[in-house]
Symmetry: C2
Subunit: 331 residues, 2 copies
Amino acid sequence: MVNMLINVPETVVADALRGIAAAHPSLTVDVDNRVVVRRDAPVAGQVALVSGGGSGHEPLHAGFVGPGMLSAACAGEVFTSPVPDQMVRAAAAVDGGAGVLFVVKNYTGDVLNFDMAAELAEDEGVTVAKVLVDDDVAVTDSLYTAGRRGTGATLFVEKIAGAAAAEGAPLERVEAIARQVNGSSRSFGVALTACSTPAKGSPTFELPPGELELGVGIHGEPGRERRAMMTSREIADYAVQVVLEDLRPTSPVLLLVNGMGATPLLELYGFNAEVHRVLAERGVPVARTLVGNYVTSLDMAGASVTLCQVDEELLRLWDAPVNTPALRWGC
Amino acid sequence: MVNMLINVPETVVADALRGIAAAHPSLTVDVDNRVVVRRDAPVAGQVALVSGGGSGHEPLHAGFVGPGMLSAACAGEVFTSPVPDQMVRAAAAVDGGAGVLFVVKNYTGDVLNFDMAAELAEDEGVTVAKVLVDDDVAVTDSLYTAGRRGTGATLFVEKIAGAAAAEGAPLERVEAIARQVNGSSRSFGVALTACSTPAKGSPTFELPPGELELGVGIHGEPGRERRAMMTSREIADYAVQVVLEDLRPTSPVLLLVNGMGATPLLELYGFNAEVHRVLAERGVPVARTLVGNYVTSLDMAGASVTLCQVDEELLRLWDAPVNTPALRWGC
């Protein structure tokens, strides 16, 4: 048996959902259908946000369900898209009459299934808009994606658009804000180890000790290049450089220094110091910083850097109250 | 070079402190002296709480500094006690005239250094009380300890006593509450992998694939026994049984399902479901549940279970507002 804290691979997602239900009375968890909904949904007159994706990236997405962020999240199998039926159920459960925004990370399966779900939900009388998150500058097209992958910016999109929805903004406005956040965000990640899925029980790719993968995706997809291990300082120089080549911010940024799951917080904070150093050297002011394991890849060691350029309105929405298992302030 | 997100082992703690300072404007970080203080300290007329210990257990303790919890935290080298000078500086920085409570995990180095610091601080006119945290039922006496080790209950002691201090309770009362919380708490942990310190760069003990260590400490100290890998269900049965043999709660409990650092949240939530199942079978009502990586051992995979029996007053203090990097609600 593999060294994982599980029963059998087949029940990992259902077991986790039962555990989420037990820990968070603020959420309603439909374990059979794998849909997590904020308990007070639907909220009449408010736009609802629905997201979801493969499991293995926790706290994304169920950990972001609650007032000020997501209305519901759909959990797929590990690293596998949820199915349209889950998304339609979620949309029906949270629609308060103001419409639903689907927040979709750009992976082929997620895009197809959310597209189909949007059509089905519209057939049932729910107005649906969609925003695609594709912030990862490492590669265009990859194992799971046409175009850029959706990674850390998902958190920024869900938080900021969720705040707009909580304030009563109409669907068109919430969608526009979500698009603005995605368009203003870029990410770059590195892996220091591979990750192991419960089903496989061993690393999903080979990464020899002493090497790292630059530009890795959140499923361990190949990145830009493999190199001999680098220092935290060198990795920060590289990652921020790549992000800034693409983003060129002209106003302050939100910074997410995200752990891939198995990197100790001690190391993540040290990496954050190096990322701040590079941004200061490059003259990029940081408005807010978030450090932690938020968009993960099971037990992968490594980190990603996401920047989101914000204007006063986006910063105000970022600071607005949020009350979810993984992000909580102001309430 | 080892696969860690660091510069050199010698600067890991200072680098992390610089990163904490960059991420959290609510904290004042003295990187040279390795003391983290809430920015608004001292708070006149309020008892101040000071804790600290070896680094490598993040977010413990710096992540628990802020209104409603710790006033200051002292960071030692990895898995090494901070020195008395740090604790005296912290006490002097946060004393608002109502005295200081030292929260000390029961490891020989910490106990000796906090004892010496208490004497030195008293010499400087600061009234100091101390509470020892020793909740780990796995072993009495161990590699680092005479008596039981202090682990997950530290979070409960710091949160609940911190809430009492924030309400203006006098030092004797804050100390009594801290002792009550420790006396009402028990923990048991398991390791699925060893951890690696930056200085060593390789696992600090041998744990072959396919085996787990039952009753492990938060530095990878040996536990009660080593066994062939068990399921999440079996581990929950074992851990809760051992805790309940010692605690025998007669009122509801707070539950901490704590990750050792490298166990994915997906697995931790699944484990939480099993822990809730056992507690329900045993007729122990759970008042509140916290799931996450709070008292860690660098990159160790594994988890611990901490129960704290609460009366109405302790539960009210647990629910009271707290505003720290790692625990935040109600503000």
